[in-house]
Each structure stands twice: as C-alpha cells, then as structure tokens.
Symmetry: C2
Subunit: 181 residues, 2 copies
C-alpha cells in the first residue's frame, strides 16, 4: 500500500497512537488502513465413498489436484462460500455436513476452513478454474500431486476419521517447512 | 475505497474479466482491489468455574460486558490472536483448550472464533480497552448487559455443554433480527 484509498494522498508506515503495531496511515486525512488475514473456504465433497478433486487450471500450483476452495467474499457465511466455490470449480452442489478442518497459515496470513459435504445426485462438471475433476477412491488419491498442504491434511484426516465415522472439527497450524508427506 | 492504494489514481467499480462480482478496479494501473471478511478471535476464559468478562471502555457497546476478543492480525494464528486479545483486554494469560464457537455475521462480513481457556493462576487485570474485568459465577452473568450476540451465544452454549463436559465446536450464523434473549 502506497496511497490512501480514501483521499489518494501518500501513506506512511507508523504506529498509531494507542496501537502497538505498524499500520499504513494517511499523511493527509489520517485514516488508518488495517490489513487483516483472509479466509479460504472449501469443501470435501464425497459421493458413494469417493472424494471429488479438481485439477487446477490456474496458478499457483497449476496442474495439481485440489479440493474446491477459494477466498470468502463479503456478505456470505463460511458455509455459503464453501458451497459457492464447489459450484464454481467442480460444478457440484453439495449437502454440507458441518465444519471439518481449520488451518492457520500465519506466514501468508490465511485461515482455511473446509466443510464435509455430499455431492447431490453425484453430479459434477469442470469449472473454469479446473482442467478436470474426478471422483477418487481412497487408494487412487494422487497424494504426490496435491496442490497444497491443507488439501493433504484434510484428506489424511478424513480417511483416518472415516474408520470410526467420527468427524470432530480439527484445527492445525501449517507453516513451512511442512512435514514430509 | 475511492483511490488506488498502489498508484493513487481513481478506482471504478466494475466486474473484472473472468469474475462475477463488482470490484474496485484502478482506472490507471488496472489493479483489482479485493475486500474480504475479517476474523475476530477471542477466548472464553475460565477460572475455578467462573467466567472472566470485560466491561468495554470503547465503542461500540461501551459499558457493556464482553468476552476478550478482537481483530486477528496478519502473521498470527487464530489461537495466538485470541490469546493476545485476552492479555490486551483482561491482562490474563490463558491455557487454550481448543476452538469452541464459530459465528458467521455475513451482514457485517465478520467471522468470530472463540477458544475455551483456563486463566493461568487466576491472574487478571484491566486492559486499556476495558473499564473493569470480573470473574462471574453462572448465576451472576449480566445477561441483559452483554455487548454482542456472539458473547451471549458463546456463554449460553458453554453453560449448557458444561453439564456434560463435552465441548464440540459449534458453528452458527447470526443475523439481525437476533432471536429474543
């Protein structure tokens, strides 16, 4: 940030009075601009025991497999954001079965939130941000071609929890260097 | 947002190519400015069965009772944000016992996340954003003087769950008109 989004003047980086962190503060109108972490919401879409994955058509990690997920937008709930991303990336409507994984990625100021979901009538397609989409049995998951650690961990936890059919909400911090897969 | 924070030129509101929502787009350098929901992290600090509440010294809801909570900052985890806010508002260090409540407030584009916690050695004070802080027994909670619906719901759920000592993560959407207390 170099300029004030309210008045167009230059901003400086300083600690405002009563604060304890550096902020971007307008040198003219005085407005303090806060920059906060962003939420990425997604689903773990399942149909007849198989998991729906999308191969990314865009960077980062183009060509790698992901769960449908994306930046939460203003005016929606986390569940709505997750369902919307699943439609956009996999053309799949899901019955949501609750929040499942939460990941903190403090080094990039992101919080991921995945919901479990059942793919309605097993219908899915290929959204514009995907090269292809596919339902995978556990033994066929492309573990070495997953896009992000958040995807790897959500799938690992899911197949583990499926043994007992208990799916408590899992919260984990993920920071590089990531554990070996 | 009226001006581009990158180059200082005016922004216009339009739907960028490949997008489906209106964004603030710079008329000069073309940068798209995304505005996303913010996370508010806090704790439910408990000591010897009593809950630590803070009476707010600042607007909104000055003079009303709250759980310690505030905007998550870049570079921290949700748990770190919750613990930091508890130190800032109640001068209390807490042993965190896991994520407990998640609230979507889509009308103001906020997501609240509360962690249960034990106040270490029962020590607490009055932070600069608080008028006073106090440990409350369940029967003494000032139900009609709570600052926000998120506080009311977290306390209600906690006292209910305490009967069975099971505290699964609870996720709720809170939108006006709020249910009658």
């Amino acid at each position: 940030m170099k300029f004030c989004s309210e008045c167009g003047s230059q901003v400086s980086v300083k600690i405002p009075e009563g604060d304890n962190r550096e902020r971007h503060v307008c040198t003219d109108c005085g407005v303090i601009h806060y920059i906060n972490p962003r939420i990425i919401a997604g689903t773990l879409p399942v149909y007849e025991g198989k998991v729906l994955l999308c191969r990314r058509a865009i960077e980062p990690r183009k060509g790698y497999w992901t769960l449908p997920a994306g930046f939460m937008e203003n005016g929606e709930t986390t569940a709505q954001a997750a369902a919307r991303e699943t439609i956009e990336e996999a053309e799949a409507e899901v019955d949501l079965h609750g929040l499942y994984t939460v990941f903190n990625l403090p080094h990039i100021s992101q919080v991921y939130m995945f919901f479990r979901g059942e793919v309605i009538e097993g219908k899915y397609g290929v959204g514009v941000e995907s090269l292809e989409t596919q339902l995978f049995e556990e033994q066929d998951i492309p573990w070495n071609e997953l896009a992000f650690p958040t995807i790897y961990r959500t799938l690992k936890l899911y197949f583990e929890d499926r043994k007992t059919e208990q799916y408590p909400v899992r919260i984990e911090d993920l920071q590089p260097p990531y554990r070996k897969h």
